[in-house]
Amino acid sequence: MAEESKKKKVAFRSFAVSLAIAFSILVSVSLFIVGGVQAYLIFFSERQNVIDHQSHITEAAASQVKDFVKERITTLETATAFGNIIALDGSEQERILNRLLGIDSSFRQIIMTDKEGNVVLRASRLSKSLSAKVIVYNKNELLRETEKGSVYISPVYIDITTNEPLMVVGIPISDVFGDLEGTLIGEVNLKFTWNLVSSIKIGEGGFVFVVDRNGSLIASKDISRVLRGEKISGVQEIEKFVNNFELSADSAEVSRGIDGTYVMSTQIPLGNPDWAVIAELPLFEAYENVFYGLGFSALVILLAIAFSITVSVFLSKKITEPISRLREVTKKIREGNFDAKATIDENNEVGELAQDFNSMAERLRAYTQDLEKKVIERTGKLNIKIRELIESNRKLSETQKELKEEKEGVERKILERTKELREEQARLLASINSLSIGFILADLNNEIVLKNAAVSRILDISEEDVSLDKIAGFFEKTPDFMKMLGDCMKEKKVCEFKEVESKNKIFRIVFAPIAINETGEIIGYVLLLEDVTEPRTFERTRDEFFLIASHELRTPLTAIRGNAEIMEQFFMDKINEAEVVDMVEDIRKASVRLIAIVNDFLDVSRIEQHKIKLEISSVPINKEIKEAVKGLFTSAEMKGVKLIFSENESLGNVMGDEDRIEQVLVNIIGNAINYTHEGFVKVVLEKEGDFAKVSVIDTGVGIPHENQKYLFKKFQQAGTNILARDVTKGTGLGLYISRLLVEDMGGEIWLEESGEGKGSTFSFTLPLEKK
């Protein structure tokens, strides 16, 4: 989807339209820039004109207001010009004051004070009782100013009855020395400035007004606002004045005016009195000329744009018209009309393009005609070929049919054989699967060809996981597992590992390479896995049991034997009965025999399991025999049998376990003594090759021929009949143990010769120490 939307065709837009739009935009933008710059310049020059004009009017108004105040002061000064009027008599003074009221109608009252500021005389237009309260001035201010010789001008205040703004002007009265003698105070009614102010006009709707430092209106065109004693706030120019900002007449501000509309305002502070004259001109009026100028410019620009669009459209059409014609022709040629010609008689790039285009179209027509001819020829040939092809196709399908029949016959046979094979395989699989032993058939790449369920059960892994790698990994304690298999493969022999331990289990592993009969070539191998944990564990438990049982048996036997021996050795004199003495001896003998039997059992089991570690060292065999003979000498003598050892000191040492050699000697010589009732037992030591040979010859009862084969076997005394055992002769394990020991030490043991009544000769060999 995303791909499609990307490829979405851009909507067709005529080149002419694009060009017209481009031209129009270009011209319009230029005009707008020019117009904008012009408007900007008009605005600034007009603005400056307005400001200049307005400042001029304001200044004029300011000087008129100032003059008004000055005139009042001058009037008062005329009265003091003649000297110290305080010194005149009362009627003279009254006359001067009344004359001042008469001269200037803006004076409401004239007051004369002494130099302490106390009222000396008052002349007023009002009734006497009223006027005394009305005049408001600061006596201290008045005295301070007049003492300096300056004029005192009070702040403006509103008369509570008439609501007219009033002001007090005080001048000093001095004597000839210039010392202050008193003051002359005039209360000036400021409504006389109103006409002054309201008569000043700026343009159509502009006006001026006067405020004092407190922001109170003193004079304005709207008298009612003055009469209300309105304090103006929220007008930027007044705020500036009230808050003592630096002011100048040159700057004009656009701000909200006294009427709440936007105006251009200028202001001039008067200084003395401390008032400001403010002029306001409605904004629209101030910028009237600017608006007219801008409007005119806009009109001109719009007309110019309209014109430029018209010209652009015409021009672009003129430029793209030949291209459009070329496009029409291309369209015709595309539709197959090769006769179409582009007729453009211009001598420029487009004209040349049209000519090239026409020659290209001509070539295309020639090529197309040629192609058509060839196509017709080829089609003819093709038709012949097709006919031939149909014929051969028919033949082919006949052959195919025959082949199909033949194939079906073969398939039937294959199916039959496959079925047989499958049955065969199923039988094989069934028998393999029924094995409790794990069976794996693998090829030379160690890929499993066949396996049974027992494998995964024995190894405790899932059926799918069974692989040779996994199995080798399983026997990780036998790291050479695969190498061992490789060796067996090389030697083409069956290998068996009886006990391979892994994961607390014991396994028997049999490995058999598979060879093709004819060539003997190895094609794979069979691996058998058997979990023998149970039988092996059983064997081990049995051995342990045997060991403990023997130990436990021997301990009480030791006590019986030991105590019997102690009795014999230390307490015989305390036993008076000969019978008891015999009994003690029997007890001791029985216990000794029992111990020997237990020892034999234990020895057999341990030697068989190779639990006995032989400590092989160099043993002086001659000396060894001598000691054994010495130990047995007493028992032989007691039986009246001669025990002879023909020494052979030159023979040197044999390699073996000293204790075990002694055990063998004691066993064989002891047997000989046991079975000999008269005559002798002779021990012979001689060299035979690399071995020392020890022979024990006796003149005893001999061994019947039929029993000789049981010698050196376990329980060799058993013979054919268990009841025929010679119970006085021990367990019958002695010779068996001797055989195992001698063989373990690298020697041999055998019966040299024997016959019933003729005595016996037993021999064994041990390897001589190599020098």
Binding site: S550, H551, R554, T555, P556, L557, T558, A559, R561, G562, N563, E565, I566, Q569, F570, I595, V598, N599, L602, D603, R606, I612, K613, D659
Partner: protein, 128 residues
């Protein structure tokens, strides 16, 4: 008087060796297990000339007792004779000798008197 310390758990065997040691005029003390034996020796209540030691005992076996004795500076010089009914040729025999036992005897193979004689001769040898 020659002093013998005997560590053995089986009362039958204890009584038998007690008899033979008494008859041979040894001074002796008996512990019925390895831990007690070690404790008695370490506390110095009885300082023997020789120690007779069984192998197969509950909790702490004789081999462990030998190890502990040989670690102890005061006790390491006392000769130890192992008396057991385990067979010779077992790894225990070699181990006992490696650990520093003087002798390894099979109880059932030795008459009590022989053991008394062996003990006497070893003490004599060490006294020199």
């Amino acid at each position: 008087m020659k002093k013998v310390f005997f560590i053995e758990d089986d009362p039958l065997i204890i009584r038998m060796y007690e008899r033979i040691l008494r008859l041979n005029k040894f001074e002796f003390m008996i512990s019925t297990n390895g831990e007690d034996g070690l404790k008695t020796l370490r506390e110095g209540k009885f300082f023997p000339d020789i120690i007779l030691l069984d192998i197969m005992m509950p909790h702490m076996n004789g081999l462990q007792v030998i190890e502990e004795l040989k670690k102890d500076e005061k006790l390491s010089d006392i000769p130890i004779v192992v008396l057991t009914n385990l067979s010779a040729g077992e790894e225990s025999r070699q181990k006992a000798l490696d650990l520093g036992a003087e002798l390894f005897l099979i109880k059932s193979q030795c008459s009590p008197q022989k053991i008394a004689e062996v003990v006497g001769s070893i003490i004599k040898k060490h006294k020199k």
